[in-house]
């Protein structure tokens, strides 16, 4: 139990008891310390299993599409970067603003359970941060690791500590923004030769098992009927001998979320094959920023996206590609 978690439970209890909201979307204790899972709490009693710790990386905004269809208001706990996703969903009329009570919560970088496992730490019972280190109480004693080795990739280049949308906040300590350049990897790749880039992506994407986790977790992938599940779309595989869907899934997905992706990084977080999918989305974001002006999806809850607007003076496609080459 930590002070922040307590404060959040109190907030949730208060909202539920006063009838301000009908339910609260948060995290529920899992089987292990590192697997809290998103959950809806409808009563003060149910909050017993509520948890908020450094493993609560999941972005809860996508759950609101469904949950907020129910009667009454829904409260939701959102880390700063998650608030952008909610805003984007509101912009796309996928979530009714009136029915949401958004609570911005403190986030001091979230842990990547895969990364921890990779450096040989398991059997975690509890975790805490101690300066630049993460301290784990494991079944076989206390273990320490450098924070930068065990937090989620996206947390190393945190895009903002601002709440894009929030009625209320629960923040006990100042949040420090990590100042890494989130486009560094994209730039590095762009600087390679076409052959090298192809080899890189071939190596990464060939591991894809089409489990759809990236799609299912993505707060921008919210289609009622996904093109990959809709035979009428011409994209979904009709027969086994048509490898189109298999081969182009990630390209099409990245294009579909371009201009709408808030760079929340959930796709890479959940990929069981550890494919750096965020590097696909960030390429679009970088191109948009460089060609059409800085744009952060989800910063606002209305307006057009870069792909539904234009400037008469926009760069020509050929020049846009060449520009990438010059870098």
């Amino acid at each position: 139990m930590n002070a922040l978690e307590n404060a959040m439970i109190e907030k949730a209890r208060d909202l539920l008891e006063k009838g301000v909201v009908k339910r609260v979307v948060g995290w529920e204790r899992g089987e292990f310390a590192y697997d809290p899972s998103p959950a809806t709490f409808e009563s003060a009693q149910s909050l017993e299993s509520f948890v908020y710790n450094d493993f609560c990386g999941a972005n809860l905004s996508k759950y609101l599409i469904k949950v907020s269809k129910n009667e009454g208001k829904t409260a939701v706990f959102l880390k700063p970067c998650d608030t952008y996703s909610l805003n984007q969903l509101i912009k796309e009329h996928r979530v009714d603003r009136e029915k949401i009570y958004a609570i911005g919560i403190e986030c001091q970088q979230k842990l990547d359970h895969f990364a921890i496992e990779k450096i040989g730490i398991d059997g975690i019972r509890e975790e805490k941060y101690d300066g630049d280190e993460a301290v784990f109480h494991c079944v076989d004693g206390e273990k320490r690791a450098k924070k930068e080795d065990v937090v989620l990739l996206r947390c190393l280049t945190c895009k903002s500590k601002k709440f894009a949308i929030a009625e209320d906040t629960v923040v006990l300590h100042e949040m420090t923004e990590s100042c890494g350049d989130r486009f560094e990897e994209v730039r590095k790749l762009s600087g390679m030769t076409a052959d090298e880039r192809f080899a890189f992506w071939q190596n990464e994407l060939s591991r894809c098992i089409r489990c759809n986790a990236c799609r299912n977790v993505c707060p921008a992938c919210t289609c009622i009927k996904c093109v990959f599940d809709n035979p009428k779309s011409g994209v979904a595989a009709k027969a086994n001998d048509v490898p189109f869907e298999e081969q182009l899934f990630h390209i099409i997905r990245a294009f579909h979320v371009s201009g709408r992706c808030t760079d929340c990084g959930e796709c890479s977080r959940v990929c069981p094959e550890r494919i750096p999918l965020h590097l696909l989305n960030r390429k679009f974001i970088l191109d948009i920023n460089e060609n059409y002006g800085e744009y952060q999806a989800g910063e606002e809850s209305e307006g057009k996206t870069p792909l539904t607007s234009y400037q008469v003076t926009d760069v020509e496609p050929g020049d846009a590609v060449r520009k990438g080459e010059d870098r």
Partner: protein
């Protein structure tokens, strides 16, 4: 399974010389679905068409592919032929074997091979063709003209003359617009009021014209042929039906310090007023921000003296809703605010004025009764300097990047009129370029220089400052290559014009697209210059781009012709190749509406069954087929692929691609 017939045209020797048409007709028989194929010398001829018609009947064809010239040439011909024998015209596809094959290739083998691919591609498309029917929508035979300046007046008169009722909605208390403020007009120098006011009277007297002055468009729904418009009639506090325009109220009104907008604020008016003598309607209006009775409750003088009993201090805004088949936007312009141009000292010196202010100072009905007196001390100015392009062709961000088009001509007019009336006056004009295209325009300008001795100086003005009551105008003379300073009594700024700002709201209501300078976009800059991309909306006058009176009137009449052409129809046929959303896959995310140039997409909340006896309400897109033009921008924006385009469906294009790539 479709029963497809393939017809290959020789086009004399145009196709047959390079493509082995007979072999092609044989080869294509092997394609699945093809039940008939034939080649013929001229498919488009009477006999060729007969061949197609007979085959449709004899072989019960459900779709046909013609291998011929470009579909841009004869697609309509073949569709008509198909329709005449009961086949839906949209079940016809054309493979372009002439422009895209026989005419550009020499090798017979290669061309024949390509022709086969082109036919297969067309077959792939026809397989997925669905019969389409053009819809019909009725036309309300009434037009709305927004804006009662010369553009609106001309359009309304022309439409009314053709026998259709027209409403003019004017936000000011009178129609007449900017032209009513002008003194003389170029290049003929006839008096503006003398040619405008009779037209205003014509409007008032025309049975088909209803003038809704002091009114604004509040809301627009519907589409071409069926607009529903809500109009706010602002409270005038004077009963229009009772007021006789006797002006007794104006004599008696104690509040005399209001700025006279009609005279560009150069003098004052009373709180109750008629903007100018020839106003239409010739009815008073009370300015509620100035009227003592409305502000303090104490006064009521006008009511006491009004013999007609027309004054009603309790009047409220009212709303009328009317239906229209077509809308003409003629919202006009205003001069830009020149306060930002510090170098010309407009805000600091009373004797630095804009051209429109000069118009009023020279107008017999203006604040000085037509005697040119400078505003600071009411003396005759002896040296007058004109500065051109103030805010026009200005890319600094202060002004407008475009040429305002009218300034060169009206400055020549002003210069000439001043020299004519006051020959002892020195007139200088600083200009960047003098632009005078137009009938008798350059002659007019040359007269100013050659006959009237106006001093034109090529160069821009850097600064104007006041030195002992003289306005010192410092500028460059590019021809003499020197700096000059002209001590002047009056400085006139040829101020850039910009669209009247209310046009933004109108554009939003009409989903008419607008450019970065707030000018309304025309549907095509060359070929459809008076039509807005929104069907049924037409553009007249400066709201579409800077222009002078003759051009404005021409455009207004062109608008009227378009409106009349629309209103004579009882029904509109709609293009069936339009977007159609699959509601079961629509997310309601609004992205499609964001890219629609025509405002054809709206959203409704609909209930859907979600299993288990439950329903949920979802926001889904709806396409108005009467408004959609069928470009397909929405289909690509839609992430779920819910939006498709009839006639060019996703499945069809993908299958065409597959047919081309088939090895």
């Amino acid at each position: 399974m479709q029963r497809i017939g393939v017809f290959i045209c020789w086009c004399g020797s145009n196709i047959a010389a390079t493509v082995d048409v007979e072999r092609l007709a044989q080869l294509i028989k092997a394609e699945p679905g093809v039940v008939f194929s034939a080649d013929y010398q001229y498919m488009c001829s009477e006999n060729g068409q007969q061949l197609i018609k007979n085959a449709v009947k004899d072989y019960n064809l459900t779709g046909i592919v013609i291998g011929s010239c470009s579909p841009r040439m004869h697609e309509a011909t073949f569709r008509k032929a198909a329709e005449s024998v009961g086949l839906n015209p949209y079940m016809v596809e054309v493979a372009n074997l002439r422009e895209q094959c026989s005419w550009i290739h020499k090798d017979r083998e290669e061309a024949t091979k390509k022709a086969l691919v082109l036919l297969r591609t067309a077959i792939a498309k026809v397989r997925l063709d669905a019969p389409l029917t053009a819809g019909e929508s009725p036309v309300v035979k009434r037009a709305l003209v927004i804006g009662g300046g010369i553009a609106g007046i001309q359009a309304a008169l022309d439409i009314a003359e053709a026998g259709f009722p027209v409403d003019i909605v004017e936000k000011n208390p009178t129609i007449g617009g900017r032209m009513a403020q002008l003194d003389k007009t170029f290049p003929t120098l006839d008096c503006s009021a003398c040619i405008l006011t009779p037209k205003m009277v014509d409007c008032a007297q025309n049975e088909n014209i209803d003038i809704l002055s002091y009114s604004e468009v509040e809301d627009v729904k519907g589409f071409v042929g069926n607009f529903k418009v809500r109009i706010r009639r602002k409270a005038r506090y004077v009963d229009e039906t009772k007021c006789t325009g006797c002006k007794v109220c104006m004599e008696k009104c104690p509040s005399k310090k209001g700025l006279n907008e009609f005279n560009m604020n150069l003098n004052n008016r009373t709180a109750i007023y008629i903007p100018f003598a020839q106003a239409i309607p010739n009815v008073a209006v009370i300015d509620p921000t100035q009227c003592l009775k409305l502000k303090t409750g104490k006064c009521g003088v006008c009511q006491k003296f009004c013999g007609a009993g027309a004054i009603d201090y309790t009047m409220q805004d009212t709303f009328v809703e009317r239906e229209y088949g077509a809308i003409v936007v003629a919202t006009g312009f205003r001069p830009i605010n020149v306060d930002a141009f510090n170098e010309y000292g407009y805000s600091d010196n009373k004797d630095v004025i804009t051209s429109l202010e000069l118009e009023r100072l020279m107008n017999a009905a203006g604040p000085t009764n037509g005697v040119l007196l400078r505003p600071s001390d009411n003396t005759h100015p002896k040296v007058i300097t004109f500065i051109q392009c103030v805010g026009s062709r200005d890319v600094s961000g202060c002004g407008k990047p475009y040429c305002s088009k009218i300034c060169c001509m009206y400055t020549a007019k002003h210069a000439m009129l001043i020299r004519e009336k006051y020959p002892d006056t020195e007139v200088h004009v600083f200009y960047i370029d003098v632009r005078t295209p137009g009938k008798n325009y350059d002659e007019f300008y040359r007269r100013a220089v050659e006959q009237y001795g106006v001093d034109y100086i090529k160069g821009m003005v850097g600064k104007v400052w006041n030195e002992n009551g003289k306005l010192m105008v410092q500028g460059a003379d590019l021809i003499e290559n020197e700096q000059v300073v002209i001590p002047s009594d009056l400085v006139v700024l040829a101020t850039a014009i910009e669209p009247e700002p209310s046009v933004r709201k109108i554009a939003t209501l009409l989903t008419a697209s607008i450019d970065t300078n707030n000018f309304l976009n025309e549907s095509h800059p060359k070929l459809r210059p008076v039509e807005s991309p929104t069907a049924g909306v037409y553009l007249a006058g400066v709201c579409q781009g800077p222009k002078d009176i003759p051009e404005t009137v021409s455009q207004a009449s062109a608008c009227a012709a378009k409106v009349i052409g629309l209103l004579v129809k009882n029904h509109l046929k709609t293009n069936p190749c339009v977007a159609r959303p699959d509601e079961t896959a629509c997310n309601g995310c609004s992205q499609c509406a964001n890219v629609c140039a025509y405002g054809a997409i709206t959203y409704v909340d609909k209930e859907f069954r979600i299993g288990g006896g439950k329903t949920e309400t979802r926001r889904v897109a709806q396409v108005n087929p009467a408004v959609c033009q069928g470009c397909g921008a929405c289909t690509v924006t839609c992430p779920s692929g819910a939006m498709d385009l009839s006639g060019f469906s996703t499945a069809q294009i993908l299958s065409e691609v597959e047919a081309i790539c088939r090895k």
